[in-house]
């Protein structure tokens, strides 16, 4: 009983001891904030990666892909069907994108993905990342009339504006068509010759929304202007008057009416289509805007390799029908999506006898609760490993995720050291307190208190101090996390620079996740350190000789 009473009195009368505990408080608060922010980031990132890649992916190692997606899907169902909710095939190929803007050709290497619009959204979050509300509900390869989001629907009100998106879709395309017609007279000198060349050498081909497959006999025929045998076509198109349209030489026999027709629909990753910049270059906190290089309604050119050895190159004109924003820069800068059938045709992946196309991979979504690793292993057993690679989304992004995990762990260790340093402060102060209380310890022993009892007074004192420090640290940390965005704004105001540069980071609100498990560990660890720090002084107190202690001045 005396131990509790004394402990309590010591706590109440010695406020300086709380100073030693301040480092514990700060350490705990910092750990909580850092852990919850990192948890938030990681979770966001994982969700996105997972949403994009889908649960399990079966990939063919063959560049030309494997034949007959439906057959493979059936085999997958046989091997692991009870866990699989949905599947979708894709064709994947590296390609080159050419964007025309202000008379420049902007080339970007991309990953071109042929998807089945009907089933892709069952498997991944593809639909969620599109800019048109209708497309989010059901993706179509037809250009929409109007109504593209002017602002990223996934972010908050601080999201950068894209005012140009208000002018996108057919509405915009018709205006563009008029403008290009208006430009025509200025390009006349080289144009007629080019047109004649083209019509002589190319086969009949229209650019209606559902183009016919290329005649198989002309598999390796290069497109006009790519044909090295007709450099004049290229040259004449190129030496035209200023403001030439490089697409001009590709004009078909049947004149393509831009105002009413579109090419193959393509969805571009938003990063390759935009440049992000500050609205006011002098004010980093003034908000950002995205300048669009292309928007839905514009045409772009694709160059892609066919299958077969050696591969040749095909080009295809496409109309941008939507933009894809997943907030993962790796995907937004590199991915473009086209209808799978069209891509198969272009690459020559369609079997002439069965009209069934090859595929490069099958993405699968699992039923809730199904284990990705288990399904992966079943499929690895079912499909020969030389031909197919089966991976879960974690396998595919393994290095990235484990790098983040390692980062978190190291941070935790470092921050825990701060608390450990606080422990030494507690040790020092407790030692002084024991020295100060030497006579009182002698008194207690003369009254019959045991050494163990005296020791436990100081151990309990350490425990209480640790608990007080951790408790305050916990409250402070949680407060910080709750108001983290306000704190970030305050910091930005004080330092003049934003904490998270909006031109680089995609989110406008800092994501945080508070996990009770982590909180418990942090608090218990801090208290543990406080108790451990009080062991040495407590033992010293216990070992004091009553007579010597009583004599202590």
């Amino acid at each position: 009983m005396y131990k509790l009473l004394l402990c309590w009195r010591y706590l109440r009368t010695r406020y300086i001891a709380l100073a030693s505990v301040i480092s514990v408080t700060l350490g705990v608060a910092t750990m909580i904030v850092v852990n919850s922010v990192m948890e938030g980031f990681t979770s966001e990132m994982q969700n996105r990666i997972h949403g994009i890649i889908s649960d399990v992916v079966l990939e063919s190692r063959n560049f030309s892909g494997a034949m007959n997606a439906a057959w493979h899907e059936e085999r997958i169902r046989q091997a692991a069907g009870e866990d699989i909710e949905a599947m979708t095939p894709t064709v994947v190929t590296p390609a080159m994108l050419t964007i025309l803007r202000n008379g420049q050709e902007i080339n970007r290497p991309i990953q071109l993905i042929g998807i089945d619009a009907a089933t892709q959204s069952d498997v991944s979050d593809f639909g969620r990342y599109l800019q048109h509300p209708e497309n989010r509900r059901q993706m179509h390869w037809e250009l929409r009339e109007d109504g593209y989001d002017v602002r990223d629907h996934q972010a908050g009100p601080d999201a950068p504006e894209r005012p140009q998106m208000a002018e996108a879709g057919w509405k915009y395309r018709r205006v563009l068509a008029q403008f290009q017609q208006f430009q025509q007279p200025f390009l006349r000198p080289g144009s007629e010759a080019a047109t004649e060349q083209v019509t002589r050498e190319s086969g009949p081909r229209s650019s209606s929304p559902h183009p016919n497959p290329l005649p198989k006999g002309e598999e390796t025929e290069a497109w006009p202007l790519l044909d090295s045998e007709s450099p004049e076509a290229f040259a004449s198109g190129g030496e035209a008057a200023p403001g030439k349209d490089p697409f001009f030489g590709y004009q078909q026999e049947k004149p393509f009416d831009m105002a009413t027709q579109q090419h193959t629909g393509i969805v571009l990753g938003i990063a390759m289509a935009t440049i992000r910049r500050l609205k006011d270059p002098d004010n980093p906190n003034g908000g950002t805007e995205d300048l669009l290089l292309v928007r839905p309604g514009d045409d772009v050119l694709l160059w892609l390799p066919t299958v077969g050895t050696p591969p040749t190159f095909r080009s295809e004109k496409c109309t941008v029908v939507d933009l894809y924003e997943s907030k993962m820069s790796e995907y937004d800068a590199n991915f473009a999506f086209v209808p799978i059938r069209r891509l198969q045709e272009l690459r020559g992946m369609i079997d002439p006898t069965t009209q069934v196309g090859n595929f490069n991979s099958i993405q699968m979504r699992l039923k809730p609760g199904a284990g990705g690793e288990a399904v992966r292993d079943k499929l690895r057993a079912a499909f020969p490993v030389e031909c197919f690679a089966v991976e879960t989304w974690r396998d595919k992004q393994g290095p990235l995720l484990s790098a983040v995990e390692m980062e978190t762990r190291i941070l935790n260790v470092l921050l825990f050291f701060i608390i450990a340093v606080a422990g030494f402060g507690i040790l020092a102060i407790f030692f002084m307190i024991v020295v100060e209380k030497t006579r009182d310890i002698g008194i207690l022993k003369s009254l019959g208190a045991s050494s163990r009892g005296v020791m436990s007074i100081f151990l309990t004192y350490g425990l209480l101090l640790g608990a007080v420090g951790s408790g305050v640290g916990l409250a402070l940390g949680l407060l910080f996390v709750y108001y983290i965005n306000e704190v970030a704004d305050l910091l930005a105001w004080v330092t003049g620079r934003p904490v998270f540069d909006p031109t680089i980071y995609y989110f406008s609100r800092i994501p945080t996740i508070i996990e009770p498990h982590t909180l418990a560990w942090i608090v218990l660890g801090a208290i543990g350190i406080a108790v451990a720090a009080s062991i040495f002084p407590a033992r010293r107190a216990a070992r004091l000789h009553p007579v010597e202690a009583l004599r202590y001045e």
Binding site: M1, Y2, T13, I443, K445, S446, L447, G448, S450, V547
Partner: protein, 263 residues
């Protein structure tokens, strides 16, 4: 250790009249062996300071009878406090034995010695030695708080409180219950210490220069209080002092010089 301790709150019992100092001196060795409550037999103690050994007590014998008021007199440095500490098991003799109520106590396990100090011995010191963070009442209750765990203490709280209040009333400190030691005068602190030493109803009171820090009249008050306790409740008191005048007020005087009892 099964003898019933005198209840200091009982009515005074009759006792023989005090003897003069001269006759006291002569009676030194004629202490009744059967009634010895606390005694030191052939006790030696020395202090070590590096390589220098300072002998303080050398082959010393002293005994106190039950109900006796014994004064141990000596100059400072004569080892009288050391002797008291040895008698109270606060320290262990290098040689010799300490006996209490027919049992040897200097070689008991620590826990039993602690119980002795807590329940059977009361101790008061020259510098009072009250715990500064506790109030007067809490200080008086502290031996009981040490004796019992949280559960049983809380259960018996009321009884303990009554005991403490009665004791405080007896020493005349009822108006100072909530005060901290630093707010009390020297005399008040010593009285609180006396009350504390009596709260567990001990058989024996050990007093180490109880009036050393007090002025003449306050000292007399304290001594009067001790005498009352000794006469009324037949509480055995062993008092150590350097002042022969004070020692005179005891039943018997023992002189300590150069580490030995003078005969």
């Amino acid at each position: 250790m099964s003898k019933k301790s005198p209840n200091i709150l009982c009515e005074p019992a009759s006792r023989p009249p005090r003897m003069s100092s001269a006759s006291l001196m002569a009676k030194d060795r004629r202490v009744d062996a059967a009634a010895r409550q606390l005694e030191a037999r052939g006790v030696s103690k020395s202090y070590r300071k590096g390589s220098v050994v300072v002998p303080v007590l050398q082959d010393l014998d002293v005994a106190v009878q039950e109900g006796e008021f014994l004064a141990i007199v000596g100059q400072s440095g004569s080892g009288k406090s050391t002797l008291l500490h040895l008698l109270g098991t606060l320290d262990a003799p290098d040689q010799g034995e300490i006996w209490f109520e027919g049992r040897r106590i200097d070689n008991l396990p620590r826990a039993q010695q602690e119980e002795l100090r807590n329940r059977r011995f009361g101790m008061i010191f020259q510098f009072y030695h009250l715990l500064p963070e506790l109030t007067t009442l809490e200080n008086v209750l502290s031996p009981l708080m040490i004796a019992e765990g949280v559960g049983s203490y809380l259960r018996r709280r009321r009884g303990h409180r009554e005991t403490a209040l009665k004791l405080l009333e007896m020493v005349g400190l009822s108006h100072r219950l909530k005060h901290k030691p630093r707010e009390l005068s020297g005399g008040e602190m010593q009285r609180a210490a006396i009350a504390r030493s009596l709260v567990a109803n001990p058989s024996l009171l050990l007093a180490d220069e109880p009036t050393g820090n007090l002025d003449q009249s306050t000292g007399q008050e304290i001594l009067a209080l001790l005498r009352t306790l000794n006469e009324r409740a037949k509480l055995t008191i062993v008092m150590v002092t350097h002042d022969p005048v004070l020692a005179d007020q005891a039943d018997r005087i023992v002189r300590l010089a150069r580490g030995r009892i003078e005969t």
